[in-house]
């Protein structure tokens, strides 16, 4: 199959209502999906498994960053894996966007493709949310020496050699900036990692809005980043 060298890594925490549909939809294009169940208290893990995903279960809740790192370690266990996609479990990402990003990385000139909400006008994020996200991007760009338009997007495609070198230690929310920082300072055979951005459409449904982070969390993320 066309995309069997791709693994989707999906951190999963209490998404029983949507995870089966998310996995089904994604598996139509990407057969390999690992859901890292981060100590869910509902039926998330079971539903993901029945929908055809591989499931790795954290014995206790560790946080989304830790779940991503576990997913990376799992995907690296497949020697035919060439690319890892980080994908959210709540259904706000579009599988067509992932497809475009994977096609982008297959061209071979970059090792990482980041999804960005701000490359086109498809998104419906509220004005304060946009402001906070842009401030976060500005901060990340300054501190990591990268130039991105959206650093806190859950959609990324990473080539195997990049995944091998990533080591996320920020268990909670600051992991997005940590990934960018590590990629920014990473050297592959002495060269900087090349990356590109692709526009993605985030579907802010009532469900994802209800589960989404409040803007107050930006303060917590900042504190976590400073007090590494």
């Amino acid at each position: 199959m066309q995309n069997d060298d791709v693994w989707l890594v999906v951190p999963l925490y209490n998404e029983a209502a949507v995870i089966a549909d998310v996995v089904h939809e994604a598996r139509a294009v990407f057969p390999n999906i690992v859901c890292v169940d981060d100590g869910s208290t509902d039926a998330s893990a079971k539903r993901a498994e029945l929908a055809g995903a591989a499931v790795v279960r954290h014995p206790v809740n560790l946080g989304q960053g830790a779940a991503l790192q576990t997913g990376f370690a799992y995907a690296l266990g497949d020697p035919s894996m060439r690319y890892v996609v980080t994908y959210d479990a709540d259904g706000q990402h579009q599988i067509q966007d992932v497809d475009a990003m994977v096609q982008r990385i297959r061209r071979g000139d970059v090792q990482v493709v980041f999804g960005s909400r701000f490359l086109d006008e498809r998104n419906e994020a509220s004005v304060p949310k946009r402001a906070v996200l842009r401030a976060a991007v500005a901060y990340t760009n300054v501190t990591t020496g990268t130039r991105l338009t959206d650093a806190h997007n859950g959609l990324r495609v990473l080539r195997r050699d990049v995944v091998e070198k990533l080591d996320i230690t920020q268990n909670r929310m600051a992991h997005a900036s940590e990934i960018v920082a590590q990629i920014g300072s990473m050297r592959l055979d002495g060269a900087k990692v090349a990356y590109a951005e692709e526009p993605v459409h985030i579907l802010y449904t009532d469900y994802s809005r209800a589960k989404g982070q409040s803007l107050w969390n930006a303060v917590n993320i900042l504190a976590e980043l400073i007090w590494r």
Binding site: D4, N32, R47, L50, A54, V56, A66, A73, P79, M81
Partner: protein
């Protein structure tokens, strides 16, 4: 006055820098110095119990602080700050170790990726041995 405040600023910076090293350092020497300091403080406390009249006030005067009580308060503030930072660091280190442990357990208990690919490699949903998802929703709805 300005000349004096410059030297004050420099002194304060030097004291804070050494206090920082002493309080949050993890090396053997800083730890030893920290413990000796604690011993010294305990000795001083015992002495001030024996002779409560002027011990702290004299020490405070010698350091340019008004009263003994003020000196103790300042010392406490600095010590508390050091405690917060060392505790935070220790906590982070512990969290990292415990995450690695939990991850190891999670990966050991999961079916390996290669095996998963072999079993579901056709891109089809697990079928024969499992109930299809729609009825599953009903089955485990609790």
């Amino acid at each position: 006055m300005s000349r004096q405040s410059v030297i004050q600023i420099l002194l304060i910076a030097a004291v804070l820098a050494s206090a920082w090293r002493l309080l949050v350092g993890t090396g053997q020497r800083t730890q030893a110095v920290r413990r000796l300091g604690l011993l010294l403080l305990l000795g001083l406390v015992v002495y001030s119990i024996i002779d409560p009249s002027k011990t702290w006030t004299n020490l405070a005067r010698a350091l340019g602080v008004g009263r003994g009580a003020d000196l103790i308060l300042y010392g406490l503030a600095v010590a508390f700050f050091g405690f917060v930072v060392t505790t935070y660091k220790r906590f982070r280190a512990m969290e990292t170790r415990y995450t690695r442990l939990a991850r190891r357990i999670a990966l050991d208990e999961a079916r390996p990726a290669t095996e998963h690919v072999r079993q579901t490699g056709t891109g089809e949903t697990l079928s024969a041995d499992v109930t299809p998802p729609p009825s599953v929703k009903a089955a485990d709805a609790d």
